[in-house]
Point group: C2
Chain length 345, copies 2
């Protein structure tokens, strides 16, 4: 085994959308596990949109902040190389938060509130899905559609960022529940991929006739709007919601680079007006609430062939900063965007 | 009986906050009731903040729009003078929507979705309360606290526009349910009146130290925020809400004079951030949902002396335009603001 490894460390907190130059790659010695510790080799890391908050100097939401000069934090899938802990054995594959580095040493008994690394059933699906359909994004999709959205058969659900990790699963859960899934995504390729996944209709937010496309896709309005975006997309959706529609909100990528106030005009009056006018129910939520039940249901649906996972993979830990940055600039990937750091074994 | 009567007619749709000059008083013949019709003499009219939408040329919310040159619409309490309808008798007192005029003829069988005029139990409370605690504002308070807010014993509820018709009842319902009521109002007199009504704590939004007053009143945050206001007040409240707090929204007087967009900066990003950060549940609602059950519960609590109604009365239908305008400029009245058009009998 090599004596050194690469880390992607945070060089600067983000101003607006994250840039590749906010990070740098460093070469450091591979750490050695002590008593009760395990040595992990990173296989995949996720470039989640929500990690925007971890590179924010004035972080306002949960999930922890990355520190300057330290490895970027975030969810990864790893293989156990050496274990000095009875619950883990060499060769186990786990999902945890050991960050953007090729190797990491962890003490499972000293985990934070997220708990020790989660051992994966490697027979169920590719282990990369632990960062997508069978991980946080899957839980978020489940929580939004099943628990917060309370979608029932026959209802119409519109989903922003539908080609993303959360949205692509959410639309398929809508179909499992007997609903009608309408996806919003940027560009023809993404829209075509959504139809291929089983979405009933799509609207391309990058098209000049986006509003007309959306009206055509929602001839009777929508009962639920799963919002991961905010901004112009949401202001186009809201007038098309039915009275009393539910709006589970799991992100707002349009505003991640903005603080509490953006450039005018002030759109909050219109937002209030639409909430009142339509008697909307809006709820912000985090996916972890869905817990194990959500993952078990999704895994069951995957086994039945009713949910397919979509992922896009780029290779090499050095690619992580550019991949992360692309999340905020309307990239062309469909499904969960992952960086493959190493192969198993 | 006189042959003519006064009407307050709409002379111009409002630009920004309504002005007295948006109306004019006209003298017209008193109409005569035909078959199936009743002649009503107006006793009280309500200058509800929500009537702002009725004087908006681009009305976006329910409740109907007033027409230029026609009597201003809105809820009133009237006495039946002559009845050609079997359900009504001379001397009955009713609550209906016959607008800002001294007399009106109605056909109860041809009512709109709001139903025929509601006959009042004149032994229960002064008939003016049919426009306040035992009318729409009471229903709104009930719906917001009981059904949408789902307030339980021991919870802390903060209420904006707490000295208004809705807020003053809402805080007292919180107390009936065993909660802690914190009211936000403008000026010392209003704040003192709220404490007199049984609110546990108050904060004066006109005071330079409003934010500090509110923090002191909410040392452990709030479980529910009944919002009738929006704007600066709400942006001061939101950071003090607990995780998962509910926010029933029944109005947004700060924005009634604004269309979909106000002058910058854009506060919508901060609103999104707080919804997500705190996992808030926001729901716009209209009071009529609480229906008869709400009014019966409030009437019962009033009989037990657990809820007191607060109202401010100005005399003469000519006073209606100025009274309505004052609602939007932080007037000093406490409770429901009413115009007394005539005495009974």
């Amino acid at each position: 085994m090599a004596q050194t490894m690469k880390q992607v460390v945070l060089a600067a907190y983000a101003q607006g959308n994250p840039q590749p130059g906010d990070f740098r790659v460093e070469e450091v010695p591979i750490p050695q596990p002590g008593d009760g510790e395990i040595l992990l080799k990173t296989l995949y890391l996720a470039v989640d949109p929500l990690l925007r908050f971890s590179v924010d100097e004035t972080v306002l939401t949960g999930g922890g902040r990355a520190e300057l000069g330290q490895p970027m934090i975030g969810p990864v899938v790893s293989e156990v190389v050496t274990s000095n802990h009875p619950d883990y054995a060499a060769g186990d594959v786990v999902e945890g938060r050991s960050g953007w580095q090729e190797y990491a040493v962890l003490a499972p008994d000293q985990s934070d509130y997220r708990g020790p690394p989660r051992k994966l059933d490697t027979t169920l699906a590719p282990v990369s899905t632990a960062l997508g359909a069978l991980g946080g994004p899957g839980q978020t999709a489940y929580e939004g559609i099943v628990n917060v959205g309370r979608v029932t058969a026959g209802e119409t659900v519109v989903i922003s960022a539908a080609a993303g990790a959360v949205g692509s699963i959410a639309g398929q859960i809508v179909k499992v529940l007997g609903g009608r899934a309408v996806g919003i995504a940027g560009g023809l390729a993404k829209c075509a991929a959504l139809l291929d996944l089983g979405f009933d209709a799509v609207a391309d937010y990058k098209a000049p006739d986006f509003a007309a496309q959306l009206r055509a896709a929602l001839p009777e309005g929508a009962d639920v709007y799963l919002d991961n975006v905010g901004g112009d997309v949401t202001m186009t959706v809201l007038p098309l919601l039915k009275r009393g529609a539910r709006m589970p909100m799991c992100g707002f990528i349009a505003y991640y680079g903005v603080g509490m106030e953006g450039p005018g005009p002030d759109r909050l009056p219109g937002f209030y007006r639409l909430i009142m006018n339509k008697g909307l129910e809006i709820r912000g939520f985090a996916g972890m609430l869905a817990g194990q039940k959500g993952l078990e249901d999704i895994a069951g649906w995957m086994k039945q062939g009713r949910i397919r996972f979509a992922e896009s993979i780029v290779d090499g830990i050095e690619a992580a900063p550019a991949a992360f940055s692309s999340v905020f600039s309307g990239h062309e990937h469909v499904g969960k965007l992952l960086v493959r750091v190493a192969h198993r074994g």
